[in-house]
Symmetry: C2
């Protein structure tokens, strides 16, 4: 079995001390080691295929060049896409990414955080779960760099990259109004996180600004853990009543997927019977017989900014919180209907 080469091996072979080898291999430029020695050491290092042990380096330096990524669920395409962008961007700067899924549960997220802190990750990119404020404060106390994405806690100053959820939801619902809908259902997650609240607020405010009073029974709040059953029930409550809503705004990808299944089951046609706008992209949205209109998030921008702000802070930048609110784009297709007055 080939043994891993360490500094000592090179030192012995060349006949110098470990320190000399280290100086040559880690500093080089402007080092005080003689050129001939330097050459000899580099040659031997190459021969033995020397690769520095990063664990030892980390122990010495306290840096691991590793980022912890905590998302809701890595198997969700939305987060998988972000993960890919983060991976690439981090790799560019010499960082590794370790990921974990919190399932939107704050206890699980606590465990993951502690676990990764002990492994000395240099910083975190976090999609914070509801009720995880303490964890965020804990990271601040320990001065561990981190950045929140997708959502944040307005009362806790921190780095974050999010989108303008209010505006995104507002323009999505505005679109449904412009295609003639007056009764619009809103399906969102029933948590207290700001991004959801803002999406709901945007939807409601759009309606009211157009003189369409919003009725509370049009807002359906879904429990993340019971998305399947909750979503089905919510759809029935909106559509199998008199009068039914004529349009639905889904506040996320997965909510829309479940909702559309129910619409198909009920035998309703999109957009004739019910018009649809959703948040987030989805392969399935393209293939639905009536392609889904959706709010497109700037994932690339989001991932890159997050990595850059984080690594800046890891590298000792003290310039205070980096906060970005990115804007979204409404991709209009058939599911929201044509711009006209719906008669009902």
């Amino acid at each position: 079995m080939k043994k891993k080469t360490v500094l000592k091996d090179i030192a012995e072979k060349v006949g110098v001390s470990i320190a000399t080898v280290s100086y040559v291999l880690s500093k080089d430029k402007g080092s005080k080691v003689s050129t001939e020695m330097s050459e000899k050491i580099k040659k031997v290092a190459r021969e033995l295929d020397y690769q520095p042990n990063q664990i030892a380096k980390s122990l010495k330096s306290g840096k691991t060049f590793t980022i912890g990524l905590v998302v809701t669920d890595i198997s969700n395409p939305f987060f998988a896409n972000i993960a890919r962008i983060i991976e690439d961007e981090a790799a560019k700067m010499g960082f590794t990414v370790v990921f974990s899924s919190s399932d939107e549960k704050s206890e699980k997220s606590w465990g993951l955080l502690k676990f990764l802190i002990n492994r000395q990750v240099d910083g975190f990119i976090i999609v914070p779960a509801e009720g995880s404020e303490d964890q965020i404060k804990y990271l601040k106390e320990l001065h561990i760099p981190f950045i929140l994405i997708d959502r944040h806690f307005p009362e806790i100053p921190s780095n974050y990259v999010v989108i303008d959820n209010f505006k995104a939801a507002y323009s999505a619902v505005e679109r449904l109004i412009s295609t003639g809908n007056k009764k619009i259902g809103v399906i969102a997650y029933g948590n207290s996180l700001i991004h959801m609240k803002e999406r709901i607020r945007g939807a409601v405010e759009a309606m009211e600004n157009y003189g369409l009073p919003f009725k509370d029974e049009w807002l359906k709040k879904i429990d993340f853990a019971n998305i399947q059953t909750d979503a089905m029930k919510a759809m029935e409550d909106l559509l199998v009543v008199d009068p039914p809503v004529t349009a639905i705004f889904f506040a996320s990808n997965s909510l829309a997927i479940h909702g559309l299944k129910k619409i198909d089951q009920l035998g309703l046609k999109v957009p004739q019977d019910v018009a649809i706008v959703s948040f987030d992209q989805g392969e399935a949205f393209d293939f639905y017989y009536s392609p889904i209109t959706y709010v497109q998030q700037p994932l690339n921008e989001l991932g890159k900014q997050a990595v850059n702000i984080l690594i800046h802070e890891i590298s000792g930048d003290q310039s205070g919180p980096g906060q970005r609110t990115l804007s979204t784009k409404l991709v209009i297709r058939e599911s929201c209907g044509k711009e006209r007055l719906r008669e009902d």
Copy 2:
């Protein structure tokens, strides 16, 4: 700023040596430390919220309790799903997962491997890219535990978990034959990896066993890097010719997605004009107006087995290669047509 507690802090506070603290905190059971001392140390450790520095432990022990996961592309739902299963299973056994995407390029995969080896990961779960045989041999030489998934190199003995690609493809195409198709196109990746070869072999052999000689022009090989353009062209070559094929077997998820877009563009109807069977699950498959029949892989089984075999080997099990070939299930829906004789 709160400082991280280290053994020394506890030792000083209690007034004993570092070693004693270490014995209490790491051995405890059957240690020779007196009970009173032991209690005092544990109490102080709790007060100071001591968390052992895993980096230091790793340097000493040579183990990092980290698994490197190298997939083709983490943003591909197929791999994202596997990643989630691997994450959960690994966490159960106290392991962290770091992931990276090779983009099916062996040079990129080399880089990732070296990078992760220097970070001393304990083992790898790898979806090997074409031409990465050397890397696999290298891991064997260094005695770094690893397991291949999705594909493997038959000429290199190693751990692997794969599916029975031949059988899966055979039964997929068999289904298309039983619904009356005699001219069946096959769209696959044009690489030399065994899983693709087997899928193609399965498809061809199915046809020939049913007395339908396979024509070479029905087999279209797509370059992973140019999937979009290649797939479009392939579809035209199969469908916009005389005579066209009446059915298509897609050897992967993404190939099917691109192919279906082209079918829609051409204004063809599934399954009347062209019947479809694909590999792998996909959200979009459920929403296509004619839900897609597909080969379902046992992702759960695949991920769990991979982790277990790998961790077994990491823990020093010498029982030779763990090799699993799992079987798949054909999920039959509308896109392959009804069982009857197609007249043409």
